[in-house]
Point group: C2
Chain length 422, copies 2
C-alpha cells in the first residue's frame, strides 16, 4: 500500500488512559510518515467519520500529543453509537467509504470495548464486501475488563487502582469513627454486568481483617440474610464493615438492586444507586449508622491515581495497532498477553476482531470466594499486577495539568450532508 | 512545671492529615523528654480519657510515628462526644482529673473542630475551677474550614484539592461523552453548613468555560429556575455542565434538598443525597442525561492526593501545640496566619480557646459571585494556596502504605469503672 492517511476514533465510555492509546497511535504514525500521511481523528468518535467532521491531529504539537499520555477521558470526543449491519443500513457504510475516499484514508483505528470492536469488525469487511481497500485495527479499551482473549483491558487497571486505594482510605476513616459514629461504609463502583471493578476493591485487603470485608458482585445474586450475618460478624470483630458494591448487583429475582423498589423505614421507595439500598438494608435490620459513596465518573476519570502498568499497556496497544496496520494486518486487535505473574511480565499479542466482537468476559466463579463475598487468591494473583506503579500527571498550582487539544477541523470535501440519529 | 506526661486525643470527623498533627505532637514531645515523659493517646478520643483507655504511643517506633504523617484518618480512633458543662456533669470532670492524676498527666492536647475546641476550653478551666493543674492546648482540625481566627483549618486543604482534582477529571469525562450521552455531571461534597468545600471545586475553573460551570452553596438558597437557566446555557455553550453541590444546599423554605421530599418522574420520593435530587431536577425540566457522584468519606480520607501545604500545616500545628505547652500557655490553640498571598507565606499564630469554641466561620458573601453559582476572584485568591503541592504517600504493590499503630494499652490504675453513653 502506498502512503495513505489514517483515521482514529474513540468509542463508548472513556477511561483514564484511552488518550494514552491515542498518544501511542499518533506518535507511532508520526514516525512512519513515509507510509502514513495525516492522522485524522473522528470528532465524537464514529459520528465524526459519518458526518465528515474530522480533526487534523497534525495541527497539534508533539508536546500536546505527548501530554495525551497523562490526560484522562477522550480528547477527540467519544460516542455511544453502534453501526448496524451492512444489510440493515448500507447507506452508513457507503457514507463511510465516501468520507474515507475523499480524505484518502487507508487505515482505520477504532478504540473501544466490545460493542465498538463489533463496529471495527464490520468496517474491516468493507474491503471484501464493498470493494474499498481498508486496513482496520481495533484498539482495546474498557474499564469493565470484559473483552475476551486479551488478558486484561487498558482502562481497567486504573479504575481498579482507584477503587482499591479509595476503599482502603475510606475504611481507615470509618474504622476511626466506629466507636461513636459510623460503622458501615458502602462504596458503589461500576460494572453493570461483570464484577471486575468491584473485585479490584478486594486488593486492598492484604491481610485478615483488612477492608473491604465484603464485596458484592453482579455475578452473585444477593442473599440478604447471608449479607446481614457477614456484616454483623465484621462489625462485632473489627468494629466496622467496609463494603464494595457493584452497581450491577441483583437480588434473587434478577432485578437490579438500584431499581428493585426497596423501601426505607418510612415506606419511601429508594431510587438511584445500589449503595444507599445496601446501606439502608443494613441500617433497618442491624441498626448500624452508615455512610455511602457513589464514585461514578470519578473512578474512570481518575488519571491522578492511574496505574503505571495500565498507562504503559494503553500506550502499547495504540503503538501496536499502527505497527499491525503497517504490516497490512486487517481485522485484528492488539491484546495484552500475560507471560508470568511473578515477576509480572506481559507482551503484545493479537486477536481477530471476529472473535472479539460482542463477547463479554465475566468473572470466573473461582475468582470469587465460596460464600460469594470476596475474591480468591487466584483472583488476587490475576488482579495484583494490573494496579502496580504510579504514573502521576504534572501539576501546576496544585492541579493536574491535562491537555485540551486544538481539535482543528479538516476542511470538508463532500457536498452531501449525512444525518446521524443520536 | 516538672516533667509530666501528656495526653493527646483526636475528636470529631477525621481528615486526611489529622495524623500528621499527631505526628507533630509526638515527634516534638519526644524531643523534650526532660519535660514531657510519656505521650498517651486516648483510644477513641476523649472516651479513652474517661474510660482510662489510654494508648502508650511510646510503644510505637520512630518509623511508625513518622508514617503517621502520610496516613489518613485517626490512628487512635476519634469520637463524636462533647463534654457537658461543669455544672451539668461534674462527674465527667472529676473522672478526667482522676485519670490524669493516676497517670501523671500535665499536658492535654485536643485535636478537633469547633465542638472539640469547646471541650478543650472546658478542660483548660479545670485548673482554676477544680484545682487540678493542667495545660490544655487545642489543635485545629476540620475539613469544613469553619473555625474562626485561624486563616484556614488543617484538613481542609486536602479535601479541597480532592474536590478540585475530581471535578476537573470528571468534567473531562462528561465533556467527551456529551455528544451522544451524558451532558450533566453532579458531584456532591461535604459541608452541611458552610460552603468552603464546594467552593474549592471552583479552583478547577481556571479559565472561561472550564468546569465546574455551577457550584451550589449551603449559604445560597436554591433558586430552581435560575439554576435551570444557568445549566441550560452551559450545555448550549460548552456541550455539557459540571456541577459541584454541597450536601448542605437548602431550598427556598430552608429545607435540606436531600430531605426535601422531591419526587421523581414516577412520583417516588427521592432520598439521600443532594446530587441525585439536582440531577433529577435538571433531567425532568431540561431532559438532559445525567450522572452523579457522592464522594462522602472518600474526599476526607484521600491522603493519596493530599495537599502538601495542608500536610505541612497539620504537622506544624501539632508541633506548635507542644511548644506552646512547654511555654506554659494554657487555653490556647495554634492558628495558621497568612502572611501573603503571592508568594503564599504563612506562620503559626495563637488564639484563645475561649474565642474559638462554638464559633462557625461561613463563606463571606463576597467570596460567592453575584448570581450565587460560583466563586469570586477574592475567594480564589484565598483558596488557591491551600491546595498547592503534592505529598504522595509511599506505595507498595500499587497501594499506599498507611501505618496501623500497635496501640498498646497503658495498664489501668483506677479501680472504678466509668460508663460513657455513646
Amino acid at each position: 500500500m502506498s502512503r495513505k492517511n489514517a483515521f482514529y476514533a474513540q468509542s463508548g465510555g472513556v477511561t483514564a488512559v484511552i488518550n494514552a492509546s491515542a498518544c501511542g497511535v499518533i506518535e507511532t504514525a508520526r514516525k512512519h510518515k513515509d507510509r502514513i500521511g495525516k492522522v485524522y481523528a473522528g470528532r465524537n468518535g464514529i459520528i465524526g467519520a459519518l458526518t465528515e467532521d474530522l480533526i487534523d491531529t497534525g495541527r497539534d504539537s508533539a508536546a500536546a500529543i505527548a501530554a495525551l499520555r497523562h490526560t484522562p477521558a477522550g480528547a477527540f470526543g467519544s460516542a455511544r453509537y453502534k453501526l448496524k449491519g451492512l444489510e440493515e443500513n448500507r447507506a452508513e457504510y457507503e457514507r463511510l467509504i465516501a468520507v474515507m475516499r475523499a480524505h484518502d484514508i487507508g487505515y482505520f483505528f477504532y478504540n473501544g470495548g466490545g460493542d465498538s470492536q463489533d463496529t471495527s469488525h464490520k468496517v474491516s469487511q468493507i474491503g471484501e464486501k464493498l470493494g474499498y481497500p481498508i486496513i482496520c485495527v481495533g484498539i482495546p479499551k474498557t474499564v469493565d475488563n470484559d473483552l475476551p482473549i486479551t488478558d486484561n483491558c487498558p482502562g481497567f487497571g486504573s479504575v481498579a487502582k482507584y477503587v482499591a486505594v479509595s476503599i482502603r482510605e475510606a475504611a481507615f476513616d470509618v474504622a476511626s469513627m466506629a466507636k461513636t459514629s459510623t460503622r458501615i461504609f458502602v462504596l458503589e463502583v461500576m460494572g453493570r454486568h461483570a464484577g471486575w471493578i468491584a473485585a479490584a476493591g478486594g486488593l486492598a485487603a492484604e491481610k485478615d481483617g483488612d477492608a473491604p470485608q465484603v464485596i458484592l458482585f453482579p455475578e452473585i445474586a444477593l442473599d440478604e440474610q447471608k449479607l446481614l450475618e457477614k456484616v454483623d460478624r465484621s462489625v462485632k470483630k473489627y468494629g466496622y464493615c467496609a463494603i464494595v458494591v457493584s452497581e450491577g448487583v441483583k437480588n434473587a429475582d434478577g432485578k437490579f438492586l438500584a431499581e428493585a423498589g426497596t423501601r426505607d423505614a418510612f415506606g419511601h421507595a429508594q431510587l438511584g444507586g445500589a449503595a444507599p439500598v445496601i446501606a439502608q438494608l443494613i441500617k433497618s435490620h442491624l441498626g448500624y449508622k452508615y455512610h455511602w459513596a457513589v464514585a461514578d465518573y470519578l473512578q474512570r476519570a481518575a488519571r491522578h491515581i492511574a496505574s503505571k502498568t495500565d498507562v504503559d499497556q494503553a500506550y502499547a496497544v495504540g503503538k501496536a495497532a499502527v505497527e499491525f496496520a503497517l504490516k497490512g494486518r486487517n481485522a485484528v486487535m492488539p491484546t495484552i498477553v500475560r507471560k508470568s505473574d511473578k515477576p509480572y511480565r506481559w507482551a503484545i499479542g493479537v486477536a481477530n476482531l471476529a472473535d472479539v466482537a460482542n463477547v463479554e468476559k465475566f468473572m470466573p466463579r473461582d475468582f470469587i470466594t465460596k460464600d460469594g463475598f470476596h475474591i480468591t487468591e487466584k483472583c488476587r494473583r490475576y488482579l495484583a499486577p494490573l494496579i502496580r506503579g504510579e504514573d502521576y500527571p504534572p501539576y501546576k498550582n496544585g492541579l493536574p495539568q491535562y491537555v485540551t487539544l486544538k481539535n482543528i477541523a479538516v476542511p470538508k470535501k463532500l457536498k452531501a450532508k449525512f444525518e446521524v440519529k443520536t
